[in-house]
């Protein structure tokens, strides 16, 4: 089904009715300097290894699109980042249709590359899809005009069909790690199991109506954010932005009440608050049940322990990141932060499970010579996992050294800047990171600097206290879950051994 927009006159009239001065371009742009919090001084930013960006300009266009404009003097490059939130749990924005819709926009932008020197990247992130456009400064007006073309195009069926085909071609079946992480995330955040995955079937089965609804909901300018990094000030492109606002109009049928928010973080975090973390421990009651998942073909078995925790302040988030970077020196430990919720996962490969031939281990030969009283003790894989978990527990209890923490912070912060430089010095990507670690729009401009300063100032006592409170496998606060991926035959010993809680090696006599 093809939808046709009403004529320009009708559209303009409707817009006027709906938005008052919607067609008066000059009135649509009301720029303000985004200086709720002052940007860090140059020396402060350089010392903290964060971008020395000035206070950006912010404007809400007449169609509701929020624009953050970062200006870097004399840069010949221009970067635009379209941020489309998906976190408010609208049905249209979930799963495959939203991804296909985002891909459709990216494909349409890619088509512009035939006449413009641009490069397009689509990045699905937690709670949003981001489409980055990299080009040269002289073509910024043309890129903005191209966006207007895309978002005012009457026909969506063709682009959506092409996007569906491409998404289907790119999908890979989840491996053991993705399965475990998806299941664990769903359990810790209280989302529906399977919601973390997009399957080939879901891509193929999504109806055209669902795709169109997803496209219209995703690209609603009243919930989107456009971040621009350019050499020109916003004022030089007011007309182009006015044109864009006039052409990029909401298409969703129900017009939400009230004005679109001028706060980026309000737009990005409109969804319901995440469920409280599960009230489970690994060792003490109430015990977190060990869940087993059938493995995908040809994948090794894996155990993943995870926990969620509230990270309400910048300081909490920075400390969590630093601890993760420090522990990563010895453990496969990962951290994802969405809003004010952090999710730690510790990945423990289960070695030879699934292959039938456990690796040679001298300790196992000794153990095999003894007859264990408990049948679960007879399983060599279980014994090996117990030793592994003991090593992890003990490492988590080691007090970090100040130089280790400082080194971890420097490595993390330095690598972030070097990667940004190698990647083309796109400030919008760093701005996106700043969005993630801010709780209010006023914090965004200085968020990376404050984050870095907190990391660099963290003491071993703080880090040790954090680890003890949140990550100690025996004594930490509740909020744990764990998942094992492997066949039932391989994991039955482990499931039996850990059914009464996580097991460690007995202390040496």
């Amino acid at each position: 089904m093809t939808r046709r927009l009403p004529s320009t006159a009708l559209l303009c009239a409707l817009s006027l009715l709906s938005f008052g001065p919607g067609c008066k371009r000059k009135d649509t742009v009301k720029v303000e300097i985004f200086d709720d919090a002052p940007p860090p001084a140059l020396t402060e930013a350089l010392g903290a290894l964060t971008p020395p960006w000035p206070a950006p300009e912010r404007v809400v266009l007449s169609d509701g699109l929020l624009v953050h404009w970062l200006r870097e003097d004399a840069t010949p490059a221009v970067h635009l980042r379209l941020v489309f939130p998906t976190g408010d749990l609208k049905p249209a924005l979930q799963g495959a249709p939203a991804l296909i819709a985002a891909r459709s926009v990216a494909l349409e932008l890619e088509a512009l590359a035939a006449r413009l020197a641009i490069r397009v990247e689509l990045t699905p992130r937690a709670g949003r899809h981001e489409i980055a456009i990299h080009g040269v400064d002289a073509e910024l007006p043309a890129v903005l005009a191209g966006l207007g073309d895309i978002f005012s195009a009457p026909g969506l069926d063709g682009p959506l069909a092409r996007a569906r085909k491409q998404v289907a071609g790119e999908l890979r079946p989840p491996d053991a790690e993705a399965l475990a992480l998806g299941t664990l995330t769903a359990r810790l955040l209280g989302t529906a199991p399977g919601a973390e995955f997009i399957t080939a079937g879901a891509v193929q089965e999504a109806s055209e109506t669902a795709l169109r609804d997803a496209w219209e909901a995703l690209t609603d300018p009243r919930s989107a954010l456009l971040v621009v990094h350019a050499g020109d000030p916003l004022a030089e492109h007011e007309d182009a932005l006015g044109d864009l606002a006039a052409r990029w109009r909401q298409r969703v049928k129900l017009i939400a009440a009230g004005e679109p928010s001028a706060e980026a973080l309000v737009r990005l975090r409109q969804g319901p608050r995440p469920a409280p973390p599960p009230n489970h421990h690994l060792k003490r009651p109430p015990l977190a049940p060990l869940e087993r998942i059938d493995p995908p073909a040809k994948n090794r078995s894996l155990l993943v322990l995870g926990r969620s925790l509230a990270l309400p302040t910048v300081r909490d988030r920075s400390l969590a990141r630093l601890v993760q970077r420090h522990l990563q020196a010895e453990l496969d430990i990962r951290l994802s932060i969405t809003g004010t919720v952090g999710l730690f996962t510790i990945h423990v490969p289960l070695g030879a499970a699934g292959r039938g031939k456990p690796a040679a281990d001298p300790l196992e030969e000794v153990e095999a010579a003894e007859t264990p009283a408990d049948p679960a003790e007879a399983d060599p894989l279980s014994r090996r996992l117990r030793r592994e978990l003991t090593v992890i527990r003990d490492y988590l209890r080691e007090r970090p050294l100040a130089q280790d923490l400082h080194g971890a912070a420097q490595l993390w912060l330095g690598a972030r800047m070097v990667a940004a430089s190698v990647g083309g010095e796109d400030w919008t990507a760093l701005w996106s990171e700043a969005l993630d670690i801010s709780t209010a729009d006023g914090e965004i401009v200085a968020a990376l600097t404050r984050d870095a300063e907190t990391m660099l100032a963290a003491t071993p006592d703080e880090a040790a206290a954090f680890i003890t409170r949140w990550l100690d496998l025996e004594k930490s606060e509740p909020g744990w879950a764990w998942v094992a991926v492997g066949s039932e035959a391989d994991l039955k010993g482990i499931i039996a051994a850990h059914s009464k809680g996580i097991q460690f090696e007995p202390p040496p006599e």
Partner: protein, 539 residues
């Protein structure tokens, strides 16, 4: 994720702009750097500009090291590139591949640096470290957080001081060198040697010859000292600090080195070639540049003069050295569309290239021919020109190549006739190669196409020059990109320069951007082309 054509083209153009670095090889006495003579000098700044974000401080330290310092405030990262004016063309005949292996060996440390410390100085702080080797220049490149700049400067200030030499470590270095990616496809070494008149280029500089394993530690130390020393190196630093502050930081690290004069290898300019005679039955047409010179049009350049002569339009500095980040030890990235040219056929005996005739230097290979090879059995010859190691020449080579690739057939040309142009952007030994396709008389065809660039296709050339300027600006926007471009500056300073007296230079001139707004800084005439065999079909 998406790689649109124009951006790919922009990327290719960036690579095209070229990596000019080394000088020319002195095959007879590679171990003894001759006094600087041949490399084309940069233009002396007529009026030294005031230091600003658009300028670069240029300095020669008492120890003979040249330093280029520039400020870049976009991110808190610093790029440090140590470019040594030595390359595979300096390999002794009995030890091909020596310089390439020595470059790897310079990661083995010395009294102050443990093995690999120069790498870990960057990587331990989240930075990257790369090695690039080529015919005329070896570069050690680091991109680090600015807080780590001092450590990296220390490592570079130690790297060339009496490197550790022992057999075991040398064996390890040879292993690293052998594991390096092989030389990318391109002009065959002997053709490149003929093109540049540099016999030292006539071998694969990346191959690890068996003879290298036999080198004694003493000989190894001698080779390292002669080919890798600060007097033939340039240190480029691009960081957020003001350039003067950077220079002070650099001075502190090199203060204790004994005084030395710059000692660059002598790399003479390519030999002039005898004119190519027109094929029988064709009317001698004007070359691209000769009529242009006469009419004063865009391509109106004087005939080629020896590099470094005052009349050279290329005298605006040098740009060079783009190395795709993904292939750190390659000047040419295998598989990169920008580099897939130069699949040249061997010059067949009896039907090769240019007539050596009256030139002061004879070409080693290919063998001279009495007449230019017109289209032979459907395989036209390749026309090759050496590109001077200047930023302006390199930038213009890229622009000319793009323009030639975009020319439409004229009314009197076969409908499917075209020119395939490729530019090998090596910083010191760049080459531009044309492959006429679908033309009955390749010589007349190439001559006519070049002439059009000075006539009806002037607009096309100007737009491609603009494109190249944009590509260079984009590439030089990041610290590492800018440092690589600056590393391609001529190693030879113009005129007498008092040691330790910084000179302020305009960035646009050093990068060749100033030239792209004016007249072409590259002379291409059919008469001066080296004709290389009939081309084999590309795979």
């Amino acid at each position: 994720m998406l790689a649109p054509r124009r951006l790919r083209a922009l990327g290719a153009a960036l690579v095209l702009v070229g990596q000019v670095v080394g000088g020319s090889a002195v095959h007879a006495a590679p171990e003894s750097p001759a006094p600087p003579a041949a490399p084309p000098p940069e233009p002396v700044p007529a009026d030294s500009p005031a230091p600003s974000a658009d300028t670069v401080l240029d300095l020669v330290l008492p120890c003979g090291l040249r330093v280029l310092a520039a400020q870049d405030l976009s991110l808190p990262v610093a790029a440090v590139v140590l470019a040594v004016e030595t390359g595979s063309e300096d390999d002794p005949p009995e030890h091909p591949g020596l310089v390439h292996a020595l470059a790897y060996h310079l990661h083995q440390g010395n009294r102050e640096l443990r093995p690999g410390e120069a790498i870990s100085a960057a990587q331990d702080a989240g930075g990257v470290h790369l090695l690039s080797t080529g015919p005329g220049q070896v570069r050690f490149e680091s991109l680090v957080p600015v807080t780590r700049l001092d450590e990296v400067l220390f490592a570079e200030s130690q790297r060339l001081r009496f490197p550790t030499v022992d057999t075991r470590r040398w064996d390890i270095s040879l292993g690293w060198a052998a594991a390096d990616v092989r030389s990318p496809p391109g002009l065959r070494p002997r053709d490149l040697a003929a093109l540049h008149g540099a016999p030292g280029l006539a071998h694969d500089g990346r191959a690890v010859d068996r003879s290298l394993a036999e080198i004694t530690p003493a000989a190894l130390a001698a080779a390292l000292a002669s080919k890798f020393n600060y007097a033939r190196a340039t240190l480029i630093v691009v960081a957020p600090e003001p350039a003067a502050t950077i220079l002070d930081q650099v001075r502190n690290h090199f203060r204790d080195l004994p005084p030395a004069a710059r000692a660059l290898p002598n790399r003479p300019p390519p030999p002039p070639r005898a004119p190519v005679e027109p094929a029988v039955g064709t009317t001698p047409g004007p070359s691209a540049l000769a009529p242009a010179a006469a009419t004063g049009n865009l391509l109106g350049l004087a005939p080629r003069t020896p590099a470094g002569s005052a009349g050279s339009a290329a005298a605006t500095g040098n740009l060079l050295g783009f190395i795709p980040p993904s292939s750190p030890s390659n000047f040419l990235a295998p598989g990169d569309p920008a580099h897939t040219f130069l699949a040249l056929a061997p010059a067949e005996a009896g039907k090769p290239a240019a007539t050596p005739a009256a030139g002061p230097t004879t070409l080693p290979t290919p063998a001279p021919a009495a007449a230019p090879p017109p289209a032979t059995a459907g395989k036209p010859p390749l026309f090759a020109w050496p590109v001077p190691p200047t930023a302006a020449a390199s930038a213009w080579a890229g622009a000319i190549c793009r323009a030639l690739n975009r020319q439409k057939p004229a009314a009197d040309e076969p409908r499917k006739s075209r020119i395939g142009c490729d530019f090998d952007p090596d910083p010191r030994r760049a080459a531009l190669v044309l492959r006429p396709i679908g033309a009955d008389d390749p010589v007349a065809f190439v001559r006519a196409r070049l002439a059009r660039l000075g006539g009806p296709d002037q607009g096309l050339l100007a737009s491609q020059a603009q494109f190249m300027a944009q590509a260079i600006r984009l590439y030089g926007r990041t610290p590492l990109g800018l440092a690589r471009l600056l590393a391609a500056s001529p190693a030879q300073l113009p005129g007498p320069v008092p040691p330790d007296s910084p000179v302020t230079r305009r960035r646009d001139e050093l990068l060749g951007l100033a030239s792209l707004g004016g007249r072409p800084a590259l002379t291409l005439t059919v008469e001066e082309a080296l004709l290389i065999g009939p081309a084999e079909p590309k795979p």
